[in-house]
Subunit: 378 residues, 4 copies
């Protein structure tokens, strides 16, 4: 079925401009229906739709939500918005056309994406809180398992497994707070902004906003894309630590065989591929953020088609972030901590600062104590 | 005077590792003294320093703050921390050494940087609020100056100068909110975390934290570097708009000659260099953020010297961001808006959506109205 | 069928580590078979395989190449390498196992990717040369169509359509040269490097290298990822130019309706989405390059599983780059150049430099001529 | 003295647009003079300057080159070009003005930068070749010092110090080749392209080009910015390796005390700060490249002032790259290799692949040999 603006576009250009939208939009189907339901109710209130029209539109839209992946979005539909409108027009004729009154696809898609993001942020926050719980168990169990603390990748001072894992969960707590901040900033309803220049028709934007559970009516997209980034700052650091501390040379940690991968040529290998991939996936998310960021750069005000290409990096960042949070949780729940290796690693030298401080307690200036201890033979 | 740990380092290596710290640290001098004052008061409370020692240390540190750029940080000092300690030791002998008790340069510098950042965020927020005021004046003055709204860089619908500038200030309001969020996350006192592994000595970290005006005691650095980025999303977009709308072909805006630059070969040129540079500086800040980001990536837990190199991108982002906010304000206060050009640009075609909506009000389904208007001859 | 190293891995971890490899590897199927054919012939020469074994292996591998997408790569296979080995073992029993002698998947996949890249670079170069031809037609047809040349986005000096499009093709010529440089650097055979540490078995790496058409035997991956980037420097600049010069306000160019897209709300719109998407896709490629780059950063020597994640950005960059080169060519072949608009745009002021130079020819110092002309009334 | 186009610009705007150019341009002083000398000789040939005028101009320009840092570039001069022209006008009056005939600052600065880059690439290549020599000494000395080869950060197969350092020098050899490729692409003379639209005056661009030692006349800037990046791929990897292998837990390498740094709180520390900084500086260069890249993105054709801001990242990348190559060389010349630690690390398990291959030589299929060895008790 043809696109809304009835025209015979060049096939190659069409394929190029449509891209993978008809696939990517599966992520938005539910949210676009929810947006349309709110819009329909509002159009009814302002007298564009009759009660009956609104009811049957809402009913069909709910059917689509239930159909889930059984609702087809064909490449010829271009995207979920046209697919839905074509479906409604087929079922309800004119009404299916009426629902688009006072709405541009620009605000329609922004609404769907915003709802998608709000849901995604909620799920990521759950995964973060869950990971914090797991870390708490480890720190409790190993509150007194001593390991060296490292600076410059060299043994520095006495520390514990608990201190190491506590640092991760402290970071994650700030991440959770940051997720709330981002949520608050994107919690604004774009529905009714039309092509970005309003519309010569009275729309009750407040009504749509509250029906959709937005905190307020407004337009803003530019913060949405930092999601995922901060969670990974801790995930990839944790992977880097675990990879190092799992080498035969350190040996503080190891993974059970069922979490490792073998080599096709080396019989003895048990590789921590999962940690390497988590470390690497943080780079993918950085790249998605970078794409979204670049695409927005220097566009003049008003909608530019460039923004369509932000969809994929956006969906992927959410998916990869949530996946890695869950896999990390699985890894931690199976992590083997080798107490003896940890203990053995706590060699004499890491207690030198303490020795200097003992002298301080005896009245030495720290710098003098420092020198005296430094000059002592190993 | 030699570095704290008395050693004869290789000269080239020393120059390489010190880098520009002795220059960059001018930004931190005041904040490092404030940190040391708090630390001294705390050491006095826990009995490491006598009241007299503390008083004279605080007195000398306040002198340094007053000296400002007259206080020398020599390359041989490596950084402001050593310069200050050497100065104190010279003036007060042993006491100058004692103040370093229970403190590592790792937590000392983090404290100074955190205080620097908190101050920087405050100043940037002021500049943002100021720019919002300026935008308000323009929108008020031009609430009914019509211009076309653009999508896909093509005329789309009727709009106004007010709507255009309102979008900027809406973004800036969210930026201001976001600055508060970042401030809240970094508002934690690192003083007392020593090398990151605590210290075998009772320190009153709460006391230092409240003396320094931190909200709580903790350790976190990873969010600090997104500052600057969001403000520029609007600044560079505004520059892109103004550059386009100031071309002879659009002509909506122009800059007074005193804000433009000429050409060395073309007598007629009046170039909007200032807007081009604001547009470009957003890329510099993106680059600084990128550097800070990369440097932190995949470092194992614990201090790594790599982090020293975050100082410069950090200081520069703050400086460039604040400068561009102020210059943009200056440009807006001098911007010439050519009402006639704006009016002339509002051609027939941009009212076609309104015409379609008139039909809708007569009962047409929007899609049908759309087609009828579309088929009307220009 | 189970993975090579016989083990019962955790299902979630397996799904996570396998990722989309079983899909992505469709790009490598042909090249992995070619690599195996060369390896089999070499194993035969050094006496690990008999002539008969080699013949039947080569025969089956050629069958797989012919099967193309009919050859299944199941998720349980993990990747194309295992899928192929399982297939061979099924068909030929022991021989299917023997072919893996003296080869690690590390060098096996590197070989396949290298062959894929060499082919991709060739195809991109063809598209570039093709685009240069198209540009030549335009420049020839419009060698005297005058338009203003712009600096600082302001009219600067007299120029022509030919000069504008010539700049693009000059860039593309350098791109073509650069593609050759990259090709030369990656034209090295990794086959036989095993896990990166050679192998305790005499392998004739020279033989494999020449069978596969590599220039020499060696190991290098780090340049491969800049492909795509340079071509886009011109494509996105060209899009930016065409978008600007196609605005109603400039009007030098326009696209035939069949290459434009309409609006769902604005009846009059004919949007150049295709140009916006080309502009934006350059950002995607920048992001893919960025991902590949980050993933490699700071990995210690030797294979790290992180590298698996470079596959997708690599394949995508090649695909997007080639696609955009072809679409741009299509756009240029349909571009409408509005001669009158171009002529009308060549206003008096852009000839002021020429006037100054006329005075120079009369003996004035350029600076004085410049001032005299500048002071002349418009 | 006033800028060329005689005007009273707003002071703040002037400071903002000039930025640090008057400082940065110290890097270009010599090259801009060389460009002007070639331009003067050409102007003489085409009859714009008399032999006497040309001679005195060339003489003064050579004086400036000799003056080096004693030649002042004042902020009021804006950049080195104006400073030089003001100086010449002061000394030679009218002639000083005449030399600017047929030249825009756009092509003038591009010429100076291009000459700067060509020189910089030469020096970097020298440093690369030098480092390759140093690596050769190490590999020769340690051709049989065994260490484990690592994959997935786990011991994998037997390797040697020679193999490890050979990989670095192989990479550096490709870097050297790549430097030549970049050199070849930028080896084109922009002098005479004026503002990018040529000039209505006969200029002998060939003459300037050959006087300046360019291979050909043309316009291209877009490749220049990848310099530095590839060298760092090996430098930062080497640092990552050395940092890991220098931990107490690995202990293969160590740095002499004079190349390490101490801790202000931990008496025992000897930190490899130099390696951490080299690792981190690779991120700075990535950031500079990123800035240069972003700044160029989506600018329309023709000069845009944005490009001015590429100067600093360009100069810095060259400086940082050369510095790190030299420091790395110094580190390698002082690196201590602990043979015993290396030997001790070569544990039984890394020989399992060899054992499997022994079975292969006895006729086993590799997969069967693999399984048999795998099942052997440790």
């Amino acid at each position: 079925m043809a696109k809304l603006w009835q025209k015979e576009p060049n096939r190659e250009i069409e394929r190029f401009t449509v891209g993978d939208d008809f696939i990517l939009d599966r992520n938005l189907l539910k949210y676009d229906c929810l947006g349309s339901i709110a819009h329909a109710k509002m159009l009814c209130k302002i007298g564009i739709l009759t009660k009956e029209e609104m009811d049957s539109l809402v009913c069909e839209l709910n059917k689509i939500i239930k159909m889930k992946d059984n609702f087809a979005i064909k490449q010829s539909d271009e995207d979920c918005h046209t697919a839905i409108e074509n479906y409604l027009t087929e079922k309800l004729g004119n009404m299916g056309k009426k629902i688009h009154t006072g709405r541009s696809r620009n605000d329609q898609i922004l609404t769907a994406i915003r709802l998608y993001e709000k849901n995604g942020l909620k799920e990521i926050k759950l995964a973060v809180l869950n990971l914090i719980k797991t870390l708490a168990c480890i720190t409790e169990k190993h509150h007194d398992t001593a390991i060296p603390g490292y600076t410059h990748m060299q043994k520095a001072m006495p520390s514990t497994i608990a201190m190491l894992f506590n640092a991760y969960s402290e970071s994650l707590k700030d991440d959770a707070a940051f997720l709330d901040d981002i949520y608050a900033i994107i919690d604004q309803s774009p529905l009714g902004s039309a092509a970005g220049y309003g519309i010569n028709l009275y729309l009750d934007r407040e009504m749509c906003s509250s029906l959709l559970g937005f905190k307020k009516v407004q337009y803003t997209t530019y913060v949405q894309n930092s999601r995922g980034k901060f969670e990974f700052l801790v995930l990839s650091k944790m992977s880097a630590d675990l990879l190092l501390f799992s080498t035969a040379e350190f040996g503080y940690f190891s993974l059970p065989e069922k979490l490792t991968t073998g080599s096709s040529i080396m019989p003895q290998k048990k590789n921590p591929d999962v940690l390497e991939l988590i470390r690497a996936k943080s780079k993918l998310v950085a790249g998605y953020l970078f794409q979204a960021d670049l695409i927005q750069k220097d566009l003049i005000s008003g909608y530019n088609r460039d923004l369509q290409l932000i969809k994929e990096p956006l969906f992927r960042s959410f998916a990869v972030t949530e996946e890695c949070l869950k896999i990390t949780d699985l890894v931690l729940n199976n992590l083997i901590i080798n107490k003896e290796k940890c203990k053995a690693a706590c060699t004499e030298d890491i207690y030198k600062t303490d020795k200097a401080l003992d002298l301080v307690k005896k009245g030495f200036a720290f710098r003098d104590a420092y020198k005296q201890i430094k000059e002592q033979p190993e």
